[in-house]
Symmetry: C2
Subunit: 141 residues, 2 copies
DNA sequence: CGAATCTTGTAGCCAAGGCTACATTTCGCA
DNA sequence: TGCGAAATGTAGCCTTGGCTACAAGATTCG
């Protein structure tokens, strides 16, 4: 079996890639937030805010670097690349939209923030468009 | 460190329990569907529909049994316990509600079905209530 | 300037979901 | 009835996110 078996990939993708993408997005978003707030994102701070031990954050950042989303030098802060920034913007925008949508259908603010964290990673672009259109029409009324 | 450190649990919960709960729910829902359709749920069928190899499904079912959600005898089908049935009902009801909500805000049907799969596991009870209320008010108009 | 302290990096282990390979048990049918 | 195919079970490995423990590079300040 030298070529790639689709059925295997499907299984691999299932829970795996789903979770992996969510994780990447969380880290990128957090780095963007910290950079905006402090001018840089330190490993310790990233770990603390995401509620994980620092080696866990180190590993994740290594992955971000591998994927070209971030750069860093030993003992210095972590910064997003242009690609990383773009992803962060997209993620934050989507987060805002999801929260707004939830609020628009009557979800209490605190709950909306919390649930959006989990939900946002599963909102496809088409669903996002629908959300935006719905919010726009509602605003127009 | 003999007592339980909360910060550690938080980390453990993060991606872990999130994914674990979604997985359990997917399996329970699938078993319920298959039982409704064929009178029993076979490991092979469960695995096929969830797109995983059968040993993977076997492991998951073992976990369901451990948690008291299902029962099974070797080389026989898998069945849900009352607790499992209750969870399945809840999961399916929530799935329906999420799909309905998505449709109500303008998401195309096929997309709604797909995205609901990922979203539903992150919808808290309070958000679900809000969805139901929103749908009810909309129906009333 | 040097030591205590704080921040990072590295090594190494665990649990869990996935998979493949191989052993067993059932089942369908000639 | 008996055998081969199909369905399950079991063993064992990989990857990944998490964690702890320990090593090593920054920092701060007396």
């Amino acid at each position: 079996m030298t070529d790639t078996d689709p059925s295997q990939i499907k299984g691999f993708n299932r829970a795996r890639e789903r979770a992996a993408r969510a994780l990447l997005e969380d880290y990128v978003e957090m780095i963007a937030d910290l950079t905006a707030e402090f001018g840089e994102a330190r490993i310790t701070e990233i770990a603390a805010r995401l509620g994980v031990a620092h080696p866990t954050a180190t590993k994740a950042v290594a992955r971000l670097k591998r994927e070209g989303l971030a750069v860093s030098r030993p003992y210095r802060g972590v910064f997003l690349t242009e690609t990383g920034e773009a992803l962060a913007d997209q993620v934050r925008e989507r987060h805002r939209t999801v929260v707004a949508l939830l609020r628009a259908v009557g979800v209490p603010e605190e709950v909306a923030e919390i649930d959006a964290e989990g939900i946002e990673h599963h909102v496809s672009s088409r669903t996002l468009e629908a959300f935006e259109a719905f919010l726009a029409s509602k605003a127009g009324k």
